[in-house]
Symmetry: C2
Subunit: 220 residues, 2 copies
């Protein structure tokens, strides 16, 4: 596997966690989102990923030869299908839906609003200042995670992790989102369930190895 990735991209971070949990080896191809006008927007990268977003995964050993995959959650589902153990989705359909709904709450309702291109539009097109930009960031992050806290706290299924006592796709999405939230100084004090799960994840090698600061393209 080759993973086109940026160390701080939370969508890339999700895929790194899943690859590590499944014990699949991969090579990182760094795509610098800030240098050279954004390498993700280069014509070369866009031949792989027309959205101009990271990550992109290239599976050199796919059924019909080399295959290019985009969208982090589609990549996670693909890894689950081609390499089922350890499972990152539960067996029962309702439980699978629960895990996916947590992953999607983060991937659809929190993360896209705080993506680099969106923050850039706010600053460059709408001319909002640094304070308003940070308030925007924290608003979506805090309100989204507060809703997730309610979901996790009132459901019987979370345990050490979002579902039971082994990590799932939901945890692959949660940890990068908390990393972002902490970097932007969001208030996470009223989220004991979310933060307990986050801490449990941080004890696993698969999550530690996937962290931004441990990537080949990490910067201070």
């Amino acid at each position: 596997m080759k993973l086109y990735s940026y160390f701080r991209s939370s969508a890339s971070y999700r895929v790194r966690i899943a690859l590590n949990l499944k014990g699949m080896s991969y090579d990182t191809v760094p795509v610098h989102l800030l240098k050279h006008g954004g390498e993700q927007l280069s014509q070369m990268y866009r031949t792989l990923n027309s959205d101009g977003l990271v990550p992109t995964m290239v599976d050199d050993d796919a059924v019909d030869g080399q295959a290019v995959l985009t969208q982090s959650l589609a990549i996670l589902e693909y890894l689950e299908e081609i390499h089922p153990a350890p499972a990152l989705l539960p067996a029962a359909a309702l439980d699978r839906a629960f895990v996916r709904s947590i992953a999607l709450s983060i991937a659809c309702d929190i993360h896209p609003l705080n993506n680099l291109r969106v923050l850039r539009y706010l600053v460059h097109e709408l001319k909002i200042d640094e304070n308003a930009k940070n308030a925007w960031y924290r608003h979506w992050c805090e309100s989204g995670l507060a809703a997730l806290e309610v979901t996790l706290a009132r459901d019987g299924r979370p345990g050490k992790f979002c579902f039971g006592d082994t990590p799932t796709l939901a945890d692959c999405c949660l940890v990068p989102q908390i990393f972002n939230a902490q970097r932007l100084k969001c208030d996470l004090s009223a989220m004991p369930t979310v933060m307990g799960i986050y801490q449990n994840c941080q004890e696993l090698d698969a999550f530690i190895k996937a962290a931004p600061q441990n990537q080949p393209d990490a910067e201070a």
Copy 2:
């Protein structure tokens, strides 16, 4: 099945299409996003869906009794698992990833930026005017769909629909997004592949029945 839905919500529209394609009957429970301060934000609705977003699906015939499901794409995957025919995902893992990547491009990278709550934040908190709001809407919609046009046009797999000649989850997401784009007068003139697929979908009863104007809570 009960579907808590708003006629113009594109996430609800996706689920309505899938239920219709699979020939599954359901009752609509209207949730008015604008009246009564937003019914999706009521305490009652939030006991079902802590995100305060539509849709929510209640499966009265689930394995362990009544089950509550949230997040449209998690619901689509659930429907696919409990009611596999007709299939809305292809058989091969790489093809499934392709279909999911299209659905996710729309569900993560276009739609969340143009959601009601986001447009409200832009107007009420950031004080942008109507023109700037509409420009924001069109920017994300047009740039996202332009990237999707490239993806679909250069891949060998799209046919009458996003994947081959039968509808998939990708089409369930595409059609509501085009409905929104047309409502906000986005320029779709340079997207022949996307619009061809959209037209093909519009010929199927499942898509026609799911359209906003054909819902019990439709307004002029």
